[in-house]
Symmetry: C2
Amino acid sequence: MSEAIFLEDLFPGRRFTAGSVMVDAEEVKRFAALYDPQPFHMDEEAGAAHPLFGRLAASGWHTAGMTMRMVVQAIGGISGGIVGGGGEIQWTKPVYPGDTLRVEIEVLEVAPSRSRPDRGSALMRNTTFNQHDEPVQIFTVRVVVPKRPV
Amino acid sequence: MSEAIFLEDLFPGRRFTAGSVMVDAEEVKRFAALYDPQPFHMDEEAGAAHPLFGRLAASGWHTAGMTMRMVVQAIGGISGGIVGGGGEIQWTKPVYPGDTLRVEIEVLEVAPSRSRPDRGSALMRNTTFNQHDEPVQIFTVRVVVPKRPV
């Protein structure tokens, strides 16, 4: 986990790089069995028969989870943790076993809280890339970030 | 899994109910260790010390996964599967071990494809509620849905 990060450390345009992780076929199937039990996420033949995927493909929620793990490893030092109230998620390409994923985190906006002088919020865009430098997921999220204690 | 669902079966205002599932403390920790390794998702004491959570709390991505499983069980009969290109996710309340979750799926819009006569898309809002009827997650997503074969 990284050094402690406070609101003062963030500014629009600041970037962090996270990852990488290799997507594992058995983990793809195990995740899907628990959280997205559709045949094309659990079985090679069903993936091959799917018109969009053409192969066993990871659940988008699994991609989101792998991304979050990398984000925590990169910027988990945000005091109080990375707790987002929500955001916009896009899955732009399928993710396949054998892919290697990494995340680029970019700070888009930073704003102090109007009501709470000890904190603020940052709007961040976490883009997950595969080994071909293709974005496979884009998640834009607003996160609460404490100010540095005086 | 439900009966096959085609575009003709969907209309704005149609609802489906999915669930329920009881949130399990060991699963909360196991999910977090793999996909959101922050202390307040893995350890009771760290959860208790967190100002927002006050108890061990599930990762939002875990809530998303539990929700997806319930959605697949309810409307997994959509031909070709439930494959969303993305959407807007909001986590509106913490989710705790012992909570019982259910999902209400509402069709907001239905539109035929302009370029592909065999399909269309549906905008759906999947709201996850806890046992107090409080929304804990709202996910709005556009899904491709085939038309009924002629």
